[in-house]
């Protein structure tokens, strides 16, 4: 009996020890450490964002965390008044925080700039301390705001990147937090000869972009001018290197200032070039034409009879200007931007090939660009596509795409038929200068090289002989296509509201860039050939000059 009680006691003690030593070990250790030490987090320096021409677009600025040590302050109210007035903060809140019982260390203000800190140091306030806490600095002001994103605070009060690159690469940029642990006595005061453990923070890594600072500035300047000139509500420009998928410039307005993001409407934070969908209109014709040629159902010389409007599924499809040219080749279909001609190509392709080509060009799925806010409109299942849907899709209505999807798809026509994964970051550099490149990623061959070359020639003809030929810079071979799509509002199209666009690449024989320009709800003219196209050519002229591309 006694032996049994001893055994039970023994088992009880062993179980309890097991609970303390194994089960509750980490919690108890943390509790014990909390009683013995107080921990000060040491924030790492966030990595910089550098353009491909080696200029920082985002870097760190010297700033400090201001803190008070109540035990070393003799007159808390006077201290709060002097400090509060210097930094422009409510005196009562500083005083209140410092007077809270048991506080040995009170943060007063985050990210105070160096000039203010120097002024505060001159006050020689006892109990006022400073800890380095860098903040974001934007040498080029609000340039590329949608692309860069911004840095705010998370729920623990630590820096965190939101949207754009700051959001997508937050883990790379933020680094690893360090800490300073100081042994304290029972009253919570630091022990003078006690132990201190300092774990140095690991600074974040720098991002080296494909973005060229000058290209970005050209795109933003011209887009702003174009929006004013044509009275557009919104506008965007995406410039990509078709051979690598590297994004050379990406601009969209209205935008916001990352230095004062909190004062902007939250809807402005989202980058419309990767998250905003639109109906591409006639610009989409080059994709369907490419699919038709690749499938062998048409060639550039194939003729169709454009005699008048056509009836599809009870709907009448007309050309944009209601003019009809009789027998025309596929090249002329693109030059005249004929909807009727494109319905001919769509019908030749048939449902399965048409939908498969749209998906093959990357529509309906995110492009996996390295920006946090990307989203993609979905493409409904094949069985839900009726004859009229297939017909309108062949000339770019009734299908939604994002600007980045569109520019990438046309990029495949520019580079010989290869669909690339668009990338903003070219390489990541650590603090020792070691660079880890992010190689360009080829996804798949969407059309043959021959098809890509044939469509390129048709696009060159569309620019040289199309509606926008008046704006084209002389001496350059530019492949492109205008687009004007009506905006769907409550289930029907509003005839007065359009999205004008122009997509193209140049020089056509060895493209240095592929670019998409979109303008929403222009007031001067609703047509892409009179708004987006001249804006495209204006930007192209600047790019030719910048890259030293001479006319032939």
């Amino acid at each position: 009996m006694v032996f049994g009680i001893f055994i039970l006691l023994y088992i009880g003690i062993v179980s309890r020890l097991l609970y303390w030593q194994v089960w509750a070990s980490s919690r108890l250790k943390t509790q014990a450490a909390g009683q013995h030490f107080f921990r000060l987090p040491l924030p790492p320096k966030r990595g910089a964002v550098i353009s491909s021409d080696n200029y920082p677009l985002v870097m760190n600025q010297q700033a400090y965390l201001l803190y008070g040590e109540p035990k070393n302050i003799q007159d808390i109210d006077g201290f709060a008044k002097r400090v509060g007035e210097s930094i422009g903060k409510d005196i009562a809140s500083i005083s209140g925080a410092l007077k809270e019982p048991g506080r040995v260390w009170v943060p007063i203000e985050h990210k105070v700039e160096k000039e203010t800190v120097d002024r505060l140091k001159n006050l020689q306030e006892k109990g006022l301390g400073f800890e380095e806490e860098p903040k974001r600095y934007y040498p080029e002001a609000s340039i590329a705001a949608h692309l860069l994103g911004f840095v705010g605070l998370d729920q623990n009060g630590m820096d965190r990147g939101y949207f754009g690159l700051e959001g997508f690469y937050d883990r790379e940029l933020r680094g690893k937090e360090g800490s300073l642990e100081i042994e304290k006595d029972v009253a919570g005061n630091p022990i003078l000869i006690g132990q201190t453990f300092r774990v140095e923070p690991q600074d974040g890594r720098d991002l080296i972009l494909w973005i060229d600072r000058s290209v970005q500035a050209i795109a933003e300047k011209r887009l702003k001018e174009g929006m004013e000139k044509y009275g557009a509500k919104e506008g965007s420009v995406v410039i990509m290197d078709p051979k690598t998928g590297g994004i050379l410039g990406m601009a969209s307005f209205p935008s916001y200032d990352p230095r004062s993001y909190a004062t902007s409407e939250k809807e402005r934070y989202i980058n419309p070039t990767v998250a905003g969908s639109y109906e591409p209109g006639s610009a989409f014709k080059v994709i369907i034409m490419g699919a038709g040629i690749d499938a062998g159902v048409v060639t550039a010389q194939t003729e169709m009879d454009e005699t008048g409007p056509i009836e599809v599924g009870g709907y009448t499809i007309r050309t944009w200007n209601n003019q009809y040219h009789g027998k025309i080749t596929m090249t002329k279909v693109l030059e005249y931007s004929s909807n009727v001609g494109m319905v001919f190509v769509g019908k030749k392709l048939g449902r399965e090939k048409l939908l498969s080509a749209i998906k093959n060009f990357g529509f309906g799925k995110p492009t996996d660009i390295d920006l946090e806010d990307e989203s993609s409109p979905t493409i409904r299942p094949n069985k839900e596509w009726y004859e009229i849907d297939l017909s309108t899709a062949s000339f770019g209505q009734g299908i939604a795409v994002t600007p980045i999807q569109m520019v990438r798809a046309v990029g495949a026509l520019a580079n010989g038929g290869v669909l690339m994964e668009p990338k903003v970051v070219k390489a990541i550099q650590d603090k020792n200068g070691k660079i880890a490149p992010i190689p360009p990623k080829k996804l798949r061959q969407v059309v043959s090289k021959k098809t890509a070359e044939e469509v390129t020639e048709m696009m060159v003809a569309a620019v040289d002989n199309g509606e926008a030929k008046w704006a084209k810079p002389q001496g350059y071979r530019i492949a492109g296509k205008t687009g004007t799509a009506q905006i769907p509002v409550s289930g029907h199209y509003d005839e007065k509201k359009t999205i004008a666009s122009f997509v193209g690449f140049a020089p056509a024989d060895d493209p240095k860039f592929v670019m998409l320009v979109t303008l929403r709800e222009t007031t001067s003219s609703q047509w892409g050939s009179e708004t987006a196209a001249p804006l495209f050519f204006n930007i192209a002229k600047d790019l030719f000059l910048y890259w030293g591309i001479t006319p032939k």
Binding site: P56, M59, Q62, P139, E140, I143, A217, T550, K552
Partner: protein, 98 residues
């Protein structure tokens, strides 16, 4: 034996004093090293901080906004017309023998 003991008794304090002096010298050196190390660390931190401030100044001064501002102040204006030379359009001077 007595002779050896007396020599040891004589040498022992000398050795002890020698070791004491050596210990003080070493401790002093270590303290100096520590102080030097502290000074060096502080210098590194100051230089790193100055370097960061200078990098920021360079970035500000070389920003496109600043360059544009200075260019306008100097009376420069964006070019309206550009002359490009293509093959066969060389200036006459280019064809002269040097």
């Amino acid at each position: 034996m007595k002779f050896i003991v007396s020599i040891v008794a004589f040498l022992l304090p000398i050795v002890a004093i020698g070791l004491l002096v050596a210990q003080i010298a070493c401790a002093n050196n270590l303290a100096q090293d520590g102080s030097t190390l502290k000074t060096l660390t502080a210098t590194i931190e100051t230089l790193a901080s100055e370097n960061e401030a200078l990098n920021q100044k360079i970035a500000s001064a070389s920003s496109l906004l600043e360059v544009e501002k200075k260019a306008i102040a100097m009376g420069l204006a964006p070019g309206k017309q550009f002359l490009t030379l293509t093959q066969g359009q060389y200036l006459v001077a280019f064809n002269q023998k040097r």
